[in-house]
């Protein structure tokens, strides 16, 4: 039985088909979930994809967090289900309070669309389960508001509880502690600015994103009760 991955579609999402294609290529089944739906029944993992949900009006993610599907995402996350936010999805998870901190405008104010170097840190998150720490990956970023910002206390807490998932090898946007992605304390909710789905085929220039997506599929296949509290 292959894992079924739900990909949430907000008005203004634009990476949902890329994510669905990438996880399908790895053997999973993908199902698009419209933001007005209220149930995630039958899904083994949920991805909030990149784009400009609700036009990014007010702040990226600020309106999306009140979309009807988000109550189900919060319950799914609380039950230990794997939830991954990519780029705009990361911003939504921070606005929803499922992940700490915030994403600010890039230092230098450039919209960044380029391939960057990443290094994995945690080996237990939903996106890096079983991936040896220090694994180097080449994955694209595509954002204006990707500068991860949090208080010193939050940054210390993230480091202490193994919640840093991936770091930039050369910080492109001013993110605190070179952070490209983090998880919640349990490790089942992950947000990251880089787009693993855009590095999922050699024709795209890199297949390194498959390392992360394959880890998610492996995690999705496990019973959620195995997630440490």
């Amino acid at each position: 039985m292959s894992a079924t991955i739900g990909v949430v579609v907000f008005p203004g999402s634009n990476c949902e088909h890329d994510v669905a294609e990438a996880v399908t290529g790895l053997g999973a089944t993908a199902r698009l979930v419209f933001h007005k739906e209220t149930s995630l029944g039958g899904l083994d993992a949920v991805v909030l994809p990149g784009g400009f949900a609700h036009g990014d009006y007010l702040r990226p993610g600020a309106i999306a967090r009140f979309s009807p599907i988000m109550a189900a995402v919060e319950r799914f996350a609380a039950d230990g289900g794997p939830v991954v936010g990519i780029c705009n999805g990361f911003q939504v998870l921070c606005e929803a309070g499922l992940l700490p901190g915030a994403l600010q405008k890039n230092r230098g104010l450039a919209f960044l669309c380029l391939e960057v170097g990443l290094e994995t840190v945690s080996e237990r998150s939903a996106l890096t389960l079983g991936v040896p720490a220090g694994t180097r990956l080449r994955v694209p970023i595509n954002h204006f508001e990707g500068c991860y910002t949090a208080s010193d206390e939050v940054l210390a807490h993230l480091a202490e509880h193994d919640q840093v998932v991936v770091r930039y090898t050369a910080n492109p946007n001013g993110s605190a502690a070179d952070i490209a992605g983090i998880s919640n304390q349990a490790g089942n909710v992950v947000g990251l600015m880089p787009h693993p789905e855009r590095a999922s085929h050699h024709l795209l220039g890199s297949e390194d994103g498959n390392v992360l997506l394959a880890a998610l599929l492996q995690r999705a296949g496990q019973p959620t009760t195995s997630v440490p509290a």
Binding site: L58, R59, C94, E95, A102, Q104, K105
Partner: protein, 87 residues
């Protein structure tokens, strides 16, 4: 019910980097302007609120700011409330 016009000014919290403000400030010498510093960029949101009194209007908008209009991790809000009539 009374009617109030509320101005919400959203600013980045002290200590939070403001690349827009810094970029504007760096451009000032090119305009021949000197003696201007501390440039910070925020946003203004105007609301019309019906409430029994000013305190209630202020409480309602403050609650909106906390839950929605600002991200308390990086932003603060100041409110200016003016009574404009009766509903």
């Amino acid at each position: 019910m009374a009617v109030f016009e509320v101005l919400v000014e959203v600013t980045l919290r002290p200590g939070i980097a403001d690349p827009q403000g810094a970029t504007i400030e760096r451009s000032l010498p090119q305009l021949g302007v000197s003696g201007v510093s501390g440039v910070r960029v925020g946003k203004a949101i105007r609301l019309t609120v019906e409430a029994p009194d000013e305190g209630e209007a202020r409480r309602l908008v403050h609650d909106l700011c906390t839950r929605f209009l600002t991200n308390p991790v990086i932003e603060d809000a100041t409110l200016t409330v003016a009574a404009v009539g009766i509903a």
